[in-house]
Symmetry: D2
C-alpha cells in the first residue's frame, strides 16, 4: 500500500509546524470558546496574512469544518428570503448536503459555467428575473478558488465578478478551501489578491494544506453593530469548539513563515511534475492543470487495476474522468511509483 495517495489533500497528515503550535498551546488553563490569547494572536496573524493591518474592521471566526465556514459566511449576510448565486458544481451546492439551506437558512441559486467557473450570463439572466417578494432576493455571489474542477479564476475573471456584484448590489464570497494553492498558481500574494477582488467574505481553508481541524470564516469590513451575528450563528451551527485555542494554534503554524504557502507551492509543483510524467505514460490529460489536481482519462477497468495495486483516487463527474490530487507531502518518488504502475496498463491498450 502506497504511503501517500493521489485521492485528496484531505487524506494527508498534519504538517510539523502545526503540530508544534498545538503542543505549544497545550499548557495550563486558558479561557474557552475563543476568548484566549492564542486566538487573539491567530486573528492578528490571519489579518496580517491577508494584508488587513490588524483587521480591526474585520470579523474572524475559527470553525472546525469548511462547510461550517461557508455557511457562516453566507448566513452572516442573508435573511431566510435571501439567496446565494454559486456554481452548480460548487462544494456548497453539491457536497454540503444542503447545509446552506437547512443549517444556514438561505437558498442557493446554482449557475452553469464551463470548467467549474461561473457563467456571468447565466447569473445576469437570474438577476433579471427577480421580481419582488415572490422570489428570493439574491444577496451574495460565491466563487470557489481553486474550483471543484481544479481550475483557477484569473484576476480578470474575478474582477468581472466583482463588477457584476457591485452592479447588482451583491456581496462577494470566496470559498477558499484551497486558496493557498490558487495564490501560487496566480503568482501573487494574499494582500494583492484581496485588494484586487475586495471580497466581502472568505472561507479560508487550513486543513487541506496541512492543518488538522482548521478552518476560518473571514468577514471583511463587517458592520461593527452586527459583530455578534456571526458569533451567534457559529454557536447555533455547533461550530464553536470549547477549547478554541487549539484551532487558533494551527493557524499560527500555517501562517507564520509562509508555511502554508510553501506547502502549497510544493503541492502545485508536484501536480505539475505528475502532469508532465503521466503524459509520458500515454495517459490523456483532460484539462490543463492549474493548481494541485489533474484530471485524466482512464477506462474503468484500468482504474480498477490501479485500485487493486493499492492506489486510491476518485472518478469525477464523467465515466472516464479521474481526478489525481497532490498534497503538501507528495514526493517525487510517489509520482514515479504511480507512473510505474500505470505504464504497463496503458502499454497494454490495443488501438
Amino acid at each position: 500500500m502506497p504511503k501517500r495517495q493521489f485521492a485528496s489533500d484531505n487524506h494527508a497528515p498534519i504538517v510539523r509546524e502545526v503540530i508544534e503550535q498545538i503542543l505549544r498551546a497545550n499548557t495550563n488553563h486558558a479561557p474557552a470558546y475563543g476568548e484566549d490569547q492564542i486566538t487573539r494572536n491567530a486573528k492578528l496573524e490571519i489579518a496580517r496574512f491577508l494584508g488587513r493591518g490588524n483587521g480591526d474592521t474585520d470579523n474572524i471566526q475559527f470553525v472546525p469544518t469548511g462547510t461550517g465556514a461557508n455557511v457562516l459566511c453566507l448566513s452572516s449576510f442573508c435573511q431566510t428570503w435571501e439567496a446565494v448565486l454559486c456554481h452548480e458544481l460548487s462544494h456548497m451546492n453539491t457536497d454540503e448536503c444542503a447545509a446552506p439551506e437547512l443549517t444556514g437558512h438561505l437558498k442557493l441559486l446554482p449557475l452553469t459555467g464551463d470548467f467549474g467557473k461561473i457563467d456571468l450570463n447565466h447569473a445576469a439572466s437570474i438577476m433579471n428575473r427577480v421580481h419582488g417578494i415572490h422570489g428570493v432576493k439574491p444577496t451574495v455571489i460565491s466563487v470557489t478558488q481553486v474550483t471543484e474542477l481544479g481550475t483557477v479564476y484569473s484576476l480578470e475573471e474575478l474582477a468581472a465578478i466583482r463588477d457584476f456584484a457591485d452592479e447588482h448590489n451583491l456581496k462577494l464570497h470566496i470559498d477558499g478551501a484551497r486558496l493557498f494553492n490558487a495564490l501560487i498558481t496566480l503568482g501573487i500574494d494574499a494582500p494583492t489578491f484581496i485588494k484586487h477582488i475586495r471580497p466581502d467574505a472568505l472561507s479560508l481553508g487550513g486543513t487541506k494544506i496541512g492543518g488538522m481541524i482548521c478552518e476560518a470564516a473571514y468577514l471583511f469590513d463587517y458592520p461593527q453593530e452586527n459583530e455578534l451575528i456571526p458569533e451567534y450563528l457559529r454557536k447555533q451551527m455547533a461550530q464553536l469548539v470549547s477549547k478554541g485555542r487549539f484551532i487558533s494554534a494551527q493557524w499560527l503554524g500555517l501562517l507564520r513563515d509562509d508555511v502554508a504557502l510553501r506547502y502549497a507551492a510544493k503541492a502545485n509543483a508536484m501536480a505539475e511534475l505528475l502532469e508532465n510524467k503521466i503524459a509520458e505514460a500515454d495517459v490523456r490529460i483532460l484539462q490543463k492543470r492549474e493548481a494541485n489536481s489533474l484530471f485524466v482519462e482512464l477506462w474503468p477497468d484500468e482504474a480498477e487495476t490501479l485500485l487493486e495495486k493499492g492506489w486510491l483516487f476518485y472518478n469525477f463527474l464523467e465515466p472516464r474522468q479521474y481526478r489525481l490530487m497532490t498534497s503538501w507531502d507528495t514526493e517525487e518518488s510517489d509520482i514515479d511509483e504511480f507512473i510505474e504502475d500505470i505504464k504497463p496498463i496503458t502499454a497494454a491498450r490495443t488501438i
Copy 2:
C-alpha cells in the same frame, strides 16, 4: 496569574495520552471523512467501553462539538413536528443558541425540576396535554448527567425516567458531556450504567475530560435500515471533519487503560478536597457536591476581589451563587493557593 483555574474543565489543556495518539495517527495518508482504520478502531473502543460488544447494532458518529453531538442524537429520532422533553436549565435549552430548533429542526419542551433534575410530574402533565396534530409529538426525553447544576442522577432516578419513557413511548437521550465524572460519583462502570438505563442515545463528551476536540454521538440499536440518517445529518450540520482520524485518535487516548475515568476520578477527588477545605475558610456551600463542581456563596465584591487576584470562575443563575469547577489537571496546590486567597476575604466579613 494562577496556572490552573476553577472556571471550567473546558479551560484545561489536553492530556498526554491524547496527544500521543494524535501524534501516532499523524503518519502517511488515510481516507478522509471517517473512513479510516483509526476511526474503526475508535468505534470498537467506545463500544467496548460502554459494554456493547463490538457495537454491531449501534451507530457511532464522532463530531467536533458537544452541541453537535446533542443535536445529532436528537435529530436522528425527530421529525420537524416532534419534540424533546428536557430540563429548562439543560445545556441544550440554555447554552446551545437554539441549535436543536434551528440546526436540528425540532422543538424543545423545557421542564422544571430542582437541582437541574427533571420533574417527572411536569413531564407527565405535558404528555397529558398532547392532542393530536395541533401540537408537537414528544418523541425523546433528554437527561443531562452530570447536570448543569453539578448534580448526578441516582440510578433510581434514572430508572424512573426510563420507565416514564417506556410508558410514553419516548426515546431516552443522555447528554453525557461529563459522563465520566458521573460514573465516578455513582461508583459504577459504564456497562453497568448503560444496562441499567438502556439509553437510546448518548452524547459522550471527551473534550472536558482531557481531549482537544473530541465528542461522540452514540445511538444504541439504531435501525440498520436508517443507518445513513445520522451520517446525512452530521454532514448537513457541518459536523463531519475531513481528517476524521484525528478526532478518533483522541478517543483511543481517552478510553484505553481507563485514562478518562482515572482523570475523572482525579477531578472529582479534587472537588471533594476543595469542598472540605473551603468550608474551613468559612465559605458557605450551597449544594452538596456530587461530581467536579462546587456551588458556593460569595458576595459580588468578594468575587470581584478574587478576580482581581487573577482567579477566574463564574457566577451561576443566582446573584451570590458561584460555581467552582475542578478539572483533570487540578492540583492540591491550586486549591491551597485559592483558599489562601479567600481566607482574608471571608475573615474581613462583619456579621
Copy 3:
C-alpha cells in the same frame, strides 16, 4: 343534533356582513396578491379601528390562519438566534405544532403563570440568565388576549408587561385571536387599548368572531426601510393568497359599523347567561368567566352522556375540567336546551 354547540367559536358559521362583502368584492378582475383596492381599503379600515389614523407607519398583512399571523408577527422581529417569551399554555407554544420554531425560525421560551397569564417573575429570571452568544437573545414577549384559559389581562397587568418589555428592550406582541371579546370584557375601545399598551405587533383574529378565513398581522411603527421583510416572510410561509381581495373584504364586513364588536358583545353576554344558568343546574364553575368561555367541572361519564345527546365540547387540561364556549351566533334557546340536558345528569348525582 343541536344546531349550535359550545365546542368552539371556530365551529360557528360566517356572519351575514362578511358574506355581503365577499359577494360585493366578487366582480370583475382585480390585481392579485393584495395589490387591489379592496385590500387598500381594508388596511385603512383596520388602522382606523385601532386608532392609528391612516396607519401610515404601520405594516399590515392579511393571512389565512392565526398561526400564520402569529409567526409572521414574531419572525418580523427575530433572527434565528432570537427568542420569544410566551406563556407555556399559549396557542403558539401548544397548538401551532412548532410553527414558530420550524416555519418562523425562532425559539420560544415558555413561561409559567396562573390562569394562562404570564408570571413576570419567571420572565425576569430567564432574562437574568441570558449570557451572550451561548443562549438565544430574547427579543419579543408575547401575550394572548383573551388567554387560552378564557381569562383577560387587565390594563394594569398589560401595563406591567409593557414596562417589563421596555426595561428589557423587548418588543411586545399580542395574540389577539379573540381580541374583540377582550375589548368587550375590558369595556374599552380598541384605540384606548392600543394607546395604553403600545404593542409592537398584533395578531388580530377575524375568523372566530364571524369571518371565514380572515386573520391579520399588524406591525406598529414598523421601520419603513424594512417594510418588505413581512412581505417576504408572508410569501415564504405560504400565507400570501392570490385572490387577496377576498380576505380583505371580510375585514370590511367585520370592522364597518362595529360588526365584530357587536358580535363579541353578544358572545360574551351569552357566556354570562350560560354562567348564570348553569350554576342553577348545580354545575361547579371552576374559574370566573371573563369573556366567551366558561370552565366547568363535570365527571367524565357525565360529559359522555352529554356527548351522546349530541353536544360537543372539550375537556381541557385537567381530567374533570371542561370548556364551554359561546360564539357570535349563540342563542338563549341553545343555552336553555343545554341546561335542560344537564339537569337530569346533575340531579342524579349521589353525594
Copy 4:
C-alpha cells in the same frame, strides 16, 4: 378601465357555483379543522374526479395557497437531506420565495429545459453525480402541468418522466395549479391522466379556475402508517384553516357537474381566439399557445401604451416577451377591445 384583463387567471373573480356552495355550507355549527362532513364529501368528490374510487389509500389535504400545496406534497416525502428535481423556471423554484427550502426543509435541484419543460438529460447528469452522504439524496421529481411558460407536457413526455422516476427510485409530483387547463389541452379526463402518469403527489389548484381560496395536496397511496405526517406538516406550515368547511365547499362547487373543466375549456378557447385574432393585428406570437396563456412580442413602449389605456399584463423573462392570459370569465368582447387597442400601435410600426 377594462372589466377583465389578460394579466392572470388569479385576477378573475369566483365562479357562481363556488359561491353557491360557500353559502350552502354557511349554516349552523360544524367541527373545525377539517373534521366536518363537507370536508369528507369534498375528499370523496376529488377522489372520484381523479378516478380513485373513494380514495381510501390516498391522503388529501385542503390548504389555502398553491405554495402550501406544493411544499406539503414535497415535504411529505422528504427528510432534510433529501431533494427535489424541478425545472429552474418552475413556480416552486422562482415564485415561492424559498418556501420549499425554508418552510418545507428540503433542497431543490433546478433543471434546465426548453419551454419550461424538464430536460431529462440534465436530470440524469445530476443523478449520476450523487455520491453518498456528501450531497443530498434526490427523492422527488416535480413537473408543472401547465408549465410556467404555458406549455403542456404531452402524455409521452410525462411517461418518460415517470420511467425516469421509476428507474431512479424517485417519487413523481405534479404541480397542477392549472391542471384543468392542461386536461382540456390534452383532451383527456383526469382518471386517464392519473392512470397514465401514476403520480405520487399532486398539487391541485382550484383558485385560478374559479375558486376563492381553494387548493389541495393529494398524495396517492400514501402509507397508512404515515397518514399523520401530512397532517402535522399542514398544521406546522400554518396551512390548516379553522373553518375548513369553507375551503372544502369550494371544491364541491368546482368538481360537481364538471364545473372546473368547463371553465377551463372556456379559458383555453378564449386563448385560442386571442391567438388567432392577435395574429391579424400583426403581433408576433413567440411560442405556440397550448393552454390559457399566449406569449407575444411587444416593444416596451408599445406595452407601455397599452398599460396607459388601462390594460394589465406582464412582461415575462425576456425584454420583449409578454404573457397574455385568459381566465374562466374572459369574453370574446374583451379580446375584441384589446385587439382594437393594439391595432393602432402595431400599425404605427415603421419597418
